[in-house]
């Protein structure tokens, strides 16, 4: 297990370094300078601004400086938003995104589990077919389409929940719901497939033959084993949620990190793009790393084959 962890950790660091480096050079190879209204700025002021952002140093020097600052958690200053620290935006926006995202994951996982289990137990029946349709629809309809419809029908037409403004807990319900459809679909699909497989196993017959009651058999024996492979979906799922949040936060006007990121892309705020990109990459890679470890912990077969390598 230790060797497996270290190996994965090694990959994680290499990948992260690669992304940061590629991001850095791409941002600096972009034509022009990242200054607003460039023509209107007098040359002296321009020089001064470039100096201030350290853009006059040779590229390798800038790279070393950037990496040094990064290791200390300093992501530089935003170029458009009054020179505020990029890290401040992350500290401000990420909690909102994380709250909406985790709410979606938790809600989606619970519903997906329930749906998948019921479908798997009633294979081939009406409930099963309904669950399959929900799963295919959930995978196919992008979260921003879902968000648009929810915002219009529940928010504007029925006036049940607020659609804009980040004021109270209620503001987070619709965006989380929009994000959770994909989660429900993926989880229920996986759990159903695994459930069908597990139910055919010999140990299920043994459990029934021992005279255990139905709920114990289903929860302790079937569901537990069906859940192991479902853990692998969590990684891609987290990535989907992050991708989805970029758009969902636009639709519902949430002050989350996704909104800042999209804004910075639209305004060519290079330091901001770079900082948030690095943050997102680290987040995604760490989540996938943790999911892999979790999987290794839950399923001993992975641990053993990992150690053999």
């Amino acid at each position: 297990m230790l060797r497996y962890t270290l190996k994965r950790l090694g990959y994680m660091v290499v990948t992260l370094w690669l992304i940061i480096t590629i991001t850095f050079f791409i941002m600096h190879l972009l034509p022009g300078t990242p200054l607003k209204n460039e023509e209107k700025i007098p040359p002296q002021v321009r020089e001064q601004i470039l100096e201030q952002y350290g853009l006059k140093d040779p590229l390798p020097v800038q790279y070393v400086k950037f990496m040094g600052n990064l290791l200390q958690g300093d992501l530089g200053k935003s170029m458009t938003l009054d020179g505020r620290n990029v890290a401040d935006f992350i500290v401000e926006g990420f909690p909102v995104s994380a709250f909406v995202g985790s709410q979606a994951v938790i809600f989606g996982t619970l519903i997906g589990l329930l749906l998948g289990t019921i479908a798997g137990l009633n294979r081939g029946k009406l409930v099963d077919n309904a669950a399959i349709i929900v799963a295919v629809l959930g995978v196919s309809v992008p979260s921003f389409v879902m968000g648009g419809f929810l915002s219009y029908f529940v928010g504007v037409k029925l006036q049940w929940l607020p659609t804009g403004l980040w004021e109270s807990y209620e503001s987070s319900i619709l965006p989380s719901l929009a994000l959770s459809f994909g989660v429900i679909a993926q989880i229920s699909r996986y759990v159903r497939t695994e459930m069908v497989e597990v139910l055919d196993q010999d140990y299920m017959k043994t459990a029934k033959a021992k005279g255990l009651n139905r709920s114990t058999v289903i929860i302790r024996h079937a569901l537990r084993n069906a859940l192991i492979p479902a853990v692998t979906v969590l990684g891609p799922l987290a990535v989907n949620i992050i991708t989805g949040s970029l758009v969902i936060e636009q639709i519902f006007a949430l002050p989350g990190l996704g909104k800042f990121f999209v804004q910075s892309i639209q305004q060519n705020d290079y330091t901001m793009i770079m900082g948030v990109t690095v943050f997102y990459s680290a987040l995604i890679i760490i989540v996938i790393f943790l999911v892999d470890l979790l999987y290794g912990l839950i399923d001993p077969r992975i641990r053993i084959s990992g150690a053999k390598e």
């Binding site: 990959y11 791409i26 629809l137 309809v141 648009g148 497939t193 990535v239 636009q250 892309i265």
Partner: protein, 308 residues
């Protein structure tokens, strides 16, 4: 037992069957692709998916012929009107015909998706094929590259690529293909590794076939099934990403139109003119849905072992 003793051997005589007749097949032989088609046809979801794809393709190509407008002419006097006379889907905030725009957008989105999927196949099959066929050290190095590529979030790569390129059909497709080929390469590598020890490969090599010939003429055709499946799943994900990128302002940009651009435009006016969001969203969702259905059906049909 008693009765059996009474039977004399001369009651029996050997049946007269021609050797030729014995060998004759009692029913028509079914080839691999015929077999696949048979399984595919009996799958309701798959047939539905294929029909929907054909329908949207036809509408994207011939739909614009149904009325006499075009996708970019502005008619401000009829702006923001819901479906009327031959404006089947109504008009948008600049008075452009939505029917024209939706099908034009669908055409652009589909073009990008097909182009991206094509690039995935070219890069993925080449990389996976070489890695799996040669094995050993070559495979080792190529696998490490693949693992790093796999762990780089594609969202990040696509966004970075589009910051450099000018957004357009080809750049968006290339940006998506940069990370998109990785799953394809994995599938092809695994299959080629499995197949390369088969007798027909040995036979081809004994007859003096070159590595390239073995790979292209003997191995790749036998991996066609998994490649087709991977393509059908690559297309909907490319369509999703195109719409997503247009939405955050990195993909196709107005005045050009794709389904993503239309959805983005419409979401500004969502509260007042929801119909403008509904048409492109429904078309987008149907395209993604039908490719997913087709992919599921093809997987079941091409590889019955994976059926659950």
């Amino acid at each position: 037992m008693e009765k059996a003793k009474n039977l004399s051997p001369d009651l029996f005589k050997p049946a007269q069957i021609e050797k030729k007749e014995q060998d004759a097949l009692s029913r028509k032989s079914v080839g691999y692709w015929q077999d696949v088609w048979g399984r595919f046809r009996s799958n309701l979801g798959a047939v539905l998916g294929l029909s929907l794809i054909v329908l949207t393709l036809l509408l994207a190509i011939f739909g614009p012929l149904a009325n006499n407008y075009d996708w970019q002419t502005q008619m401000l006097d009829v702006a923001n009107k819901e479906s009327f006379s031959d404006h089947y889907f109504g008009t948008d905030h600049l008075g452009r015909d939505m029917w024209q725009r939706v099908w034009y957008g669908a055409k652009i989105s589909l073009t990008i998706a097909f182009l991206a999927a094509f690039l995935d196949v070219v890069i993925g099959v080449t990389f996976g094929g070489i890695s799996g066929y040669f094995g050993g050290r070559v495979d080792m190095v190529m696998q490490r590259i693949l693992e790093v590529m796999y762990s780089i979030p594609n969202l990040i790569v696509i966004i970075l690529m589009l910051l450099i390129f000018d957004p357009g059909i080809v750049p968006v497709a290339i940006a998506m293909a940069i990370t998109g080929w990785v799953p394809m390469a994995r599938v092809v590598r695994a299959q080629v590794m499995k197949l390369k020890s088969q007798e027909y490969v040995l036979a081809a090599r004994t007859l003096g076939a070159s590595h390239a010939r073995i790979l292209l003429k003997h191995l790749i055709p036998n991996v066609m099934g998994p490649i087709i499946i991977a393509v059908t799943f690559a297309i909907p994900s490319a369509i999703f990403f195109e719409a997503f990128l247009a939405f955050i302002g990195l993909g196709i940009r107005p005045p050009e139109a794709s389904l993503g651009v239309l959805i983005n435009d419409a979401s500004t006016y969502l509260q007042i003119f929801p119909y403008q969001l509904i048409y492109p969203s429904v078309v987008l969702s149907i395209i993604i849905l039908s490719f997913n259905l087709l992919g599921d059906g093809l997987r079941d049909a091409l590889d019955p072992r994976m059926r659950k």
